[in-house]
């Protein structure tokens, strides 16, 4: 059964604030093989005008991936996660994330379409500070493969 398009526009409750840690940024940078000083060295970050080390561009996937649990486990939506393929991914920044940031995630379903027996789901995660300062928008398109292939 195709995914119900009436879920377009559904927004989920904000997550608990995520504390962006200096060591987590360093760990993530190491995991992607990025030795850049701004990701590791507090003095270099200060010299560049930042309060603390800066997160690599795809770092917010940690938060948006965790927050997407709300969508994939939404019993009303009834998504079969075992059939999900990652289609598209995008991060649009207002400013870089730095260690010490607290970020809340609000996830929404922006679009649901059907094509060739598959469902295409566009999700959006807005990451902002608890005070409401927008920091980065994360858009993820998922393909839920149909059973017909």
């Amino acid at each position: 059964m195709p995914m119900d398009q009436s879920f377009i526009g559904r927004t989920y409750p904000p997550t608990e604030p995520y504390q962006v840690g200096r060591e987590k940024i360093r760990e993530f940078a190491d995991a992607i093989g990025a030795p850049d000083d701004l990701y590791h060295d507090v003095a270099a970050a200060h010299a560049a005008g930042y309060r603390d080390v800066v997160a690599p561009p795809t770092f917010p996937i940690i938060l948006s991936f965790a927050a997407m649990e709300q969508i994939v486990t939404d019993p009303e939506l009834g998504m079969d996660y075992s059939r999900v393929v990652h289609g598209d991914q995008r991060f649009s920044y207002r400013r870089p994330i730095v260690a010490g940031d607290e970020l809340v995630v609000v996830s929404s379903i922006d679009d649901i379409t059907h094509r060739g027996g598959h469902d295409f789901l566009t999700t959006r995660a807005e990451l902002s500070t608890p005070a409401g300062e927008p920091v980065v928008t994360v858009v993820c398109k998922l393909v839920v493969r149909g059973h017909g292939e």
């Binding site: 760990e27 993530f28 190491d30 995991a31 992607i32 093989g33 990025a34 850049d36 000083d37 701004l38 990701y39 560049a48 930042y50 800066v54 690599p56 561009p57 795809t58 996937i61 940690i62 991936f65 965790a66 393929v85 990652h86 289609g87 598209d88 991914q89 995008r90 991060f91 649009s92 920044y93 870089p96 858009v139």
Partner: protein, 138 residues
Amino acid sequence: MSEMAYETGQQLPQQTFRVTRADLVRYAGASGDFNPIHWSQRTAEGVGLPGVIAHGMYTMALAGRAVTNWVGRADAVLDIGVRFTRPVPVPDTDGGTSVDFTAVIKSVSEDGLVTFDLTATCGGEKVLAQARVVIRQV
């Protein structure tokens, strides 16, 4: 350090990143994405894949590294978007596989935004489409 001035149509030199199984295990831990298709041959083959594949997000992270390396600033990226078109199989060998990145400058705006169109290939096959990164020049 003075930054180079970009021009529309300019080609960026190829960068190659090696990807091994150990990299995927480490990325799984750091990112929280423990989907077993990225570390278990049995699971990957069970869902019809040729073997363990890299996280799409790992390949995307390498795209980000390619751009920050070209630009010479780790905080340059304002916007990064990709479409995952083909998996990156990572064999269980010491050398793993490698992903090659090239780019062309699509546009340079008056307010200093530079748009890179990236090409990412593994074994000659394109693994990303619509891979576009916008940076701000300082």
